[in-house]
Symmetry: C2
Subunit: 511 residues, 2 copies
């Protein structure tokens, strides 16, 4: 650590060195630069760094401890106290600070505007204890096969650690790409390993597609409702979104066809199976006609696939990518929903001419995805541990989905409707005319239940009456209780619909 000291003889030299060190550290702690619990340098080390006697540092540390800024753990060293006198003091401004907000790119300004819009319907940072949350579209971490994963990770570091911790080619860990090529055949997708690019979850897939295909002013057709983070990233690259309404059997071909007669979108983004937020499945007939339409209009399709395994009723038809003779479809898959979101591991499947460009974008974005995690997931899959986990998780999510549908049917007041989710983690509920989600949320939270307001899923500012209920991470016994609370909140809102929405703060990303 560097501490500027005024030595005897110089200006202000009468302040003892120990006192100067103490003041400097005190300031760093007060400003939060040395955070609670952080270890201070060993006194020997700090003495060497700043060129004083070790006893001088020891004296400074004793004073800090006496004043409550630090505490000593025998044999471990000196640590910043967990609770320090809280007066966060900004660093004095010697010269005017640069105003970075004037320097933002148009892309960053679009993202900022999106965020401001979103803030009004986002989750609070913390919900009150006892709140039942239907908000996060995530797998239940209680089901995670953590220990099995730890064992394969151990093995791959032992056996291939050096290579996996070094720089790596951008395309990914070759055995994982070969495995995915074989895995995709189960769904009828014929992809050569060289047509598969490993990415950091499907979000990076959207990003790489956007940077490779979108220029400002380009149009992107998109299901309405759809996944907010895909919409945001397309918009941040300057695209204008063209919403296509959905029916119970997928997007409305009637509307898409009218749209294609007038406009030429760069691509269509869709989620044919396990659609987020509705949970609906695009029927086989719609898939076939969509592809005919796409071939006729030379319309590329970016297919966001949950990989077809997260379904509760009938097995969904194969992905669009499996019926794509013209090489129009880019398929994005992920391990986030069926295994671990925290690994940030997904894949892109695209025709060779495009996959090369996507690889280049990947290199510029972050060179490559951690080969260690890729190798661990490969070995996990190769030992059929993924299949075992999938089967178990799907049974459990299926029970939760049934419980939710059953509770909704039994408890919701008249006029409330919802999508009959067939796959994925959620469904979309719509309030009766005249009621708004923004006004419902604080009432629901006051009753101990929360959800994701629906506006985030609509690209045109609609969805005010809708909300997403995710059932995947809610334990079975809580589902009915959560719906009771929600039904009560809706009834209350029906009696007093005028309550203004408060603006809770955003913490965890919507997924």
């Amino acid at each position: 650590m560097k501490i500027p000291l005024r030595r005897a003889g110089g200006e202000g030299g009468r302040v003892p060195l120990a006192r100067q060190i103490q003041s400097h550290l005190e300031r760093l702690i007060r400003q939060g630069l040395l955070a609670p619990g952080v270890k201070l340098p060993a006194s020997r080390e700090l003495a060497r760094d700043v060129g004083v006697n070790r006893t001088t540092v020891a004296a400074a540390y004793e004073e800090l401890i006496a004043a409550g800024w630090a505490r000593a753990h025998v044999g471990q060293g000196t640590f910043v106290a967990e609770r320090v006198p809280a007066s966060v003091e900004p660093a004095p401004a010697a010269v005017p600070r640069l105003d970075w907000s004037e320097l933002l790119s148009r892309r960053a300004q679009v993202a900022l505007a999106d965020r401001h819009r979103r803030r009004s319907y986002s989750q609070p940072a913390r919900t009150a204890p006892g709140t039942i949350s239907f908000a996060g579209g995530m797998p239940d971490s209680a089901l995670f096969p953590t220990d099995a994963f730890r064992r394969v990770l151990n093995r791959v570091i032992r056996e291939e650690g050096r290579e996996l911790l070094q720089y790596y080619p951008p395309t990914g860990y070759p055995p994982l790409r070969r495995y995915l090529a074989a895995y995709l055949l189960r769904f009828g997708v014929e992809a050569h390993p060289a047509e598969i690019l490993i990415v950091n979850g499907s979000q990076q897939g959207f990003d790489l597609v956007a940077r490779t295909l979108l220029d400002p002013g380009d149009l992107v057709a998109i299901e309405q409702p759809s996944y907010p983070r895909a919409m945001q990233v397309f918009r941040s690259f300057g695209a204008e979104l063209l919403p296509v309404p959905m029916t119970a059997s997928g997007l409305s071909l009637f509307h898409l066809e009218r749209l294609l007669e007038r406009q030429a979108p760069k691509f269509l983004y869709c989620q044919p199976s396990a659609h987020n937020p509705t949970g609906l499945t695009m029927s086989l007939a719609v898939r076939q006609r969509l592809l005919e339409l796409a071939v006729r209009h030379r319309l590329p399709i970016v297919e966001d696939g949950f990989d077809g395994t997260l379904f509760y009723g009938e097995r969904p038809p194969g992905p669009l990518k499996a019926m794509d003779p013209a090489g129009l479809v880019v398929y994005i898959g992920t391990f986030s929903k069926i295994l671990f979101p925290g690994l940030r591991l997904g894949w892109l499947v695209a025709p060779p001419a495009l996959i090369e460009r996507l690889e280049m974008a990947k290199q510029l974005a972050d060179i490559h995805t951690s080969p260690l995690l890729q190798a661990a997931v490969y070995h996990f899959c190769e030992r059929r541990l993924l299949e075992r986990h999938q089967a178990r998780a799907l049974r459990e999510y299926g029970r939760r989905r049934s419980a939710l549908l059953e509770a909704l049917a039994r408890l919701m007041p008249p006029g409330v409707t919802w999508t009959e989710t067939e796959g994925g983690f959620s469904l979309l509920l719509t309030l009766p005319e005249g009621l708004e989600t923004g006004a419902l949320l604080p009432r629901a939270q006051a009753r101990g239940v929360t959800f994701t307001p629906g506006e985030a899923f609509f690209s045109d500012g609609g969805g005010e009456r809708s909300l997403r209920l995710s059932f995947s991470a809610v334990a079975l016994p809580q589902i009915e209780e959560g719906m009771k609370r929600l039904a009560e909140a809706i009834r209350e809102l029906g009696r007093h619909p005028a309550h203004p929405a408060r603006e809770p703060e955003m913490a965890v990303p919507i997924v």
Copy 2:
């Protein structure tokens, strides 16, 4: 797996089902969709999927094995043969394929042009056995503390696995951010944990800065030479690069000042310590005057720091970020050089107003960086294992650097010059007038030594006579032999300078 079967009675129904299954699988293997070594589905499973008797599948598998397409491992199943009759047959084109090259964004077109330019001076995919490679700017994986890392990784999965495998806030693992805040104080950088964003290596740092600040047509001032991947990402967002020449004590302030009188770059990108490719350090005097100049012109600086620990002579002055009263400097740090590149773990330090925008860009790019790897690195650092590794690695790299400088001084023909590297992994060598690196590379490779041609590091097409020698990953005894071979190749080139460069293919990214 889905296999379309023509049943008896239908069209072509006389082909037996086992034969149809065999042909289908044979085609998948021939086209590389089922890659060598990949496991075929269990016969029971495939029989169920396609609706036939298990013996039918077994018969198909036996035929595949007999024809050399597959092999059986008793008790393990049937696998695609490691060597299959090689005739990669493209899938028949039913309808005209979409031409994706017509759909590329301007960003992707710039990246493509950069790649074509770069290909002429990039590394071959594989060097001949026995080649001594000074090409990769990477740490030596033989020094990796792989086993110690495995143990901390084990511990964090055991203790925090569920949280670390779930979705996570985009800013990063809080203990790592607090640790980094304290760590940066060693170099005089005062950053609050909230001003630190965890990213996927410094490359993602460049990318997030570029997308947050750059619009097409913006100017970026940059040291000449500089790090190619930073230049590429800035260019891919539409920036025009303004090269500033370097002197032995850092970038030329004279030139920068002239430039700032005429032009207003969005920021300056520089590597003041452990500069890649030269290994030079910007002197304290240049740092101070650079910051004065930046304050005067309101010029933001993007500082690419190796964190100041990779030095061999005198300790370099503190980072620019440590002397930044006006909040002009964005600092990018990484664990790739001093720990493991394969983790893809780095961090950005920026003023609060900017760090918020960078966080938003991070969310759009890939939501967050793997918290599992962040936690493992945190615990690794917290137990002082990073410091131990740093000290050991630095001693070893220091020996290699000395050996390289000594060998160059002793062996190089007159007229060859090089930078006296003080930090990092490499130095830049310049050939005498009239000799070009493009012509040297094939001769050097023929003699069993390779390097990175210098053109990649120059933004304006210069550097034809220069080349980068990275010493970090070359074992000590090979350094002198490598320089002997290189000196011979240079002498030979001096006698016959006209040999045309060949175009080797690119495989591993330049770092």
